[in-house]
């Protein structure tokens, strides 16, 4: 095993700062208010995230960001997932990363500072109406410097200023990645009614919309980017699973039935321990993947897939036990367990569900002769 887990004082500081800020600003009441709100996120909150430097966390310093790496991203994602942060932070962080990987220096300087400052919410629009999500499945067409086509299930579709879109060049058939500004009427976004009100999404249509075609090798950039997306989302899911476990454990310690707290019963205790076990394995994989990404190791892609597979199992499991063990109360909207369950189920398939990840892991180990990380 060549991957060394990196976690230094700087990561602890970010974790503590993020945890404190989120604890104070994302209250259950605020979550509920925004769940029922048309827009779904708070512009004032987004401004604060920009001021904290979080929107630009992984944007290079010379483009106005903090210049941090994958472990920092993982830390922030985990804390934001713990509180179900109803803001397009992950979408923006990942969009910035894709621009950085696919663009040339001039393009990075053109787009990244606006993102880093919080001025522009950004999102990668990659899911097709069919549900196919890989880059090569794109049906968006690039004609010269104009994009036509549609994408669905786009995170923050209605609030994003920038869309980063995999497209296919009509003349050559080559895959490219394009940045499209939302400001023209050639780009229309329509809200989708989503399972998870804390992460808004929509359909986006491009009608000959002007774009900036990122100069780098699109397929190479996408392949380098995907582990970032999978790892960051897996980290966010780990935070949420932890919160679901904590809320259920607290309930099991206080809810008394049959003359004792229900957590005394092994039928409650043992499954919660199983949730803990799944969560700890998930966190180990997440931090291994993040450390590998920062070290530039070849194992990063495989570890990211493993982390996402683990997250896709552990988070829904944790939330399922949260609802179940809150009993009758868990079945009502009043209990917060279902908010986490919705986030878990909506996150489960993103960037590849567990089945898809396991298939890729099997291919790597059995067909491609990869080493176990």
């Amino acid at each position: 095993m060549s991957v060394r887990l990196r976690y230094e004082e700087e990561h602890v500081l970010l974790r503590d700062e993020a945890r404190r800020w989120l604890e104070g600003h994302v209250t259950p009441a605020e979550l509920r208010r925004l769940a029922n709100d048309a827009r779904g996120d708070d512009p004032a909150c987004w401004q604060q995230l920009g001021a904290l430097g979080w929107a630009g966390l992984v944007v290079p310093e010379k483009c106005g960001g903090a210049g941090f790496g994958a472990v920092h991203l993982t830390v922030l994602a985990e804390e934001s997932g713990r509180k179900l942060l109803p803001a397009p932070l992950l979408a923006t962080l990942l969009a910035a990363k894709l621009i950085e990987l696919a663009g040339n220096a001039a393009q990075r300087e053109r787009w990244l500072p606006r993102i880093a400052s919080g001025a522009a919410i950004a999102t990668v629009a990659h899911v097709e109406a069919s549900g196919a999500w890989g880059m090569s499945a794109t049906t968006c067409v690039l004609d010269g410097a104009r994009v036509s086509g549609a994408k669905t299930r786009v995170w923050a579709a209605l609030t994003a200023r920038l869309f980063v879109v995999p497209v296919r060049e009509r003349s050559s058939g080559a895959l490219r990645i394009a940045v499209v500004e939302a400001s023209t009427d050639l780009v229309t976004a329509e809200a989708e009614r989503a399972l998870d009100p804390s992460r808004r999404q929509g359909r986006v249509r491009f009608e000959n919309a002007a774009c900036d075609v990122l100069a780098g090798d699109a397929e190479a950039a996408w392949c380098a980017w995907l582990p970032w997306a999978q790892t960051a989302l897996a980290a966010e899911m780990a935070g949420g699973a932890d919160a679901a476990l904590a809320m259920t454990t607290a309930y099991a310690q206080t809810r008394v039935q049959f003359e004792r707290p229900i957590g005394a019963f092994q039928a409650i205790k043992h499954p919660l321990v199983n949730v803990l076990i799944a969560l700890e394995q998930l966190r180990s994989l997440v931090y291994a993947a993040a450390s590998a990404l920062d070290a530039g190791g070849a194992e990063a892609a495989l570890l990211a897939r493993m982390a996402k597979a683990a997250a896709s199992e552990a988070y829904p499991f944790a939330c399922s036990r949260a609802v179940q063990f809150h009993g009758g109360y868990g079945f009502t909207e009043d209990c917060d367990a279902h908010l986490y369950l919705r986030r878990a189920l909506a996150s489960r398939p993103a960037f590849g569900d567990a089945r898809e990840q396991r298939a890729a892991v099997a291919s790597a180990l059995l067909d491609a002769g990869a080493e176990l990380p």
Binding site: L272, A310, L365
Partner: protein, 201 residues
């Protein structure tokens, strides 16, 4: 062990192997200076010894180095298996789940040594190491048996080299899940010491 009143009766494991014994003490007299610690301190000493075995002491990843044992052999088995087995989606899915778990357990062992990454629940990884490693080994060996199809009906049959190896390994995994704190007891311990849930009694 040779004083009067001490009788050793060998036990046979479910694998047919020896190694364990019953020791029966009948009025066996020992000198007063053979006492370890104080009189009445037996439970304390026994549980202290157990904590080393179970790996709950600080920084330890536990007694089982079993996270990696077996997965290498499984990879080898499948890489050289016939295409109908190696290409089967259900087989690949289950294999991948075991490979992911093996990797996670190895990184659990590494993460124990990184304090910042265990700050929220510092006891969790040491207390679950033996439990998770032994259950993983059991699931893995069981899968190995399944993959060997009808060879699984054999037990070290000389005409079929390798027959019974996975079953032998699988039988022995019960030593892991029963000894040193059964999986069920360890789940109680984790629930109580890490999650803070009340005791069951």
């Amino acid at each position: 062990m040779r004083i009067p009143g001490v009788e050793v009766r060998p036990l046979v494991k479910l694998t047919g192997e020896g190694g364990f014994n019953q020791v029966i003490f009948t009025n066996a007299r020992i000198p007063a200076d053979a006492l370890l610690g104080r009189e009445g301190q037996g439970w304390e000493l026994a549980t202290a010894t157990l904590s080393f075995e179970r790996g709950a002491s600080e920084g330890s990843a536990g007694a089982s180095g079993m996270g990696g044992v077996g997965i290498g052999e499984l990879i080898g088995l499948l890489r050289s298996a016939p295409p109908e087995l190696r290409g089967d989606g259900a087989v690949r899915d289950r294999f991948a789940a075991l490979a992911i778990e093996a990797t996670a357990l190895r990184f659990n062992a590494a993460r124990v040594r990184v304090p910042g990454l265990t700050a929220d629940r510092p006891q969790a990884l040491p207390l679950m190491a033996k439990l998770t490693g032994t259950e993983h080994a059991q699931r893995l060996a069981d899968f190995g048996i399944e993959l060997s199809g009808l060879h699984a009906t054999l037990w070290h049959d000389t005409a079929t080299p390798g027959s019974g190896e996975w079953a032998h390994s699988y039988f022995n995994t019960y030593a892991g899940t029963i000894a040193g704190g059964t999986s069920e007891i360890l789940r109680n311990v984790l629930g109580e010491k890490v999650l803070g849930l009340p005791k069951s009694r």
